[in-house]
């Protein structure tokens, strides 16, 4: 029984990955040139700014927010589990902290420099492009350093 639900979790993760990747490709978010054309707001002055990516978030949020409040929130409220798991895994942190602010600022800096965020980086692996490969290796290194920093900080909290 445990085994069967684990397989269902993996199957739905695969399906969600396919849907997500298709969304990134269809929307244009997977194209770094298009992302920079959106982020570089100085292009407004010469009329070459591409605001279409704003609509990606609008569409995604419309679906996510409505179904979260219609389906997921009531289930959490009545202690029901997700379809293929025993509980919902939601972040425990609720308040702002300096690490969140610092991290978000660093991410914005990197994203603005190259126009690639983690989802498009993974989808584009299939291009076998050497430059994209270098970006992904650097990104994984960054994720690893961040993980080390966070666990070091956790140890400090435990000690004190």
């Amino acid at each position: 029984m445990m085994k069967a639900s684990s397989m269902k979790r993996k199957a739905s993760a695969l399906l969600c990955g396919v849907l997500f990747g298709t969304g990134l490709l269809v929307s244009g978010l997977a194209d770094p040139a298009k992302v920079i054309g959106f982020l570089d707001v100085s292009r407004i002055s010469n009329g070459s700014w591409d605001p279409s990516l704003m609509v990606v978030m609008t569409g995604a949020l419309a679906v996510y927010m409505s179904l979260f409040y219609l389906v997921v929130k009531p289930r959490i409220g009545t202690n029901q589990a997700p379809v293929c798991d025993v509980k919902y895994h939601l972040p425990e942190k609720k308040t702002l902290d300096s690490q969140l602010i610092f991290g978000a600022a660093l991410f914005g800096l990197g994203w603005g420099m190259v126009g690639i965020c983690p989802g498009p980086a993974i989808v584009n692996l299939a291009t076998l492009d050497i430059n994209l490969g270098l970006f992904v290796v650097a990104m994984l290194f960054g994720l690893y350093i961040g993980k080390l920093l966070k666990s070091a900080q956790l140890d400090l909290v435990k000690v004190s």
């Binding site: 445990m2 979790r9 993760a13 990747g21 969304g23 040139a33 591409d50 995604a60 679906v63 895994h89």
Partner: protein, 158 residues
């Protein structure tokens, strides 16, 4: 700036939102790509001997055998890229270029994206869609900040 690119952006956004909420409805998980990639590759499950997997942890609902669900999500993402690579020529779809910035910039940018997403506990998907979609204060603040910083950076570097 034609209407079709807006329609594509909206349609693509709907697919992204649908994927993210389905992962929550079925698996109870946040569709944050940086988190999924990080836990797939750097999870403690892989770093420690499999025999010592913590079965007491209530958070650990992964099957002890085979790759974690995160790997299946990543496989789905990569698969769409493979299909795109196979059909873009026939369908006249655009080729994506990754050489608009120098290699040192790509490496620094990648490092910042990884480190920032890890410390900030989320990226465009985890904070921008799943977090704002739950009206999380942390995610609203993080998303406003990283979009503002990214826009300023893009203005100065492009």
């Amino acid at each position: 700036m034609d209407l079709s690119s807006f329609a594509a952006a909206f349609g693509g956004g709907i697919l992204i939102g649908l994927s993210a909420i389905l992962l929550m409805i079925f698996n109870g998980r946040i569709a944050g790509i940086s988190g999924i990639v990080s836990s797939a590759i750097f999870s403690d499950r892989k770093l420690t001997d499999k025999k010592f997997t913590d079965k007491k942890s209530s958070d650990n609902t992964d099957d002890e055998t085979g790759p974690s669900w995160q790997w299946f999500f990543i496989t789905g993402l990569v698969l769409t890229g493979v299909i795109y690579a196979l059909v873009y020529e026939q369908l006249g779809l655009p080729v994506f270029e990754f050489d608009s910035v120098s290699r040192p910039m790509l490496l620094i940018g990648g490092l910042l994206v990884g480190l920032g997403c890890s410390l900030g506990r989320g990226c465009t998907s985890g904070h921008g869609i799943c977090g704002i979609g739950r009206l999380s204060l942390r995610s609203i603040v993080a998303t406003c900040l990283f979009i503002a910083v990214a826009a300023c950076t893009a203005v100065f570097t492009h």
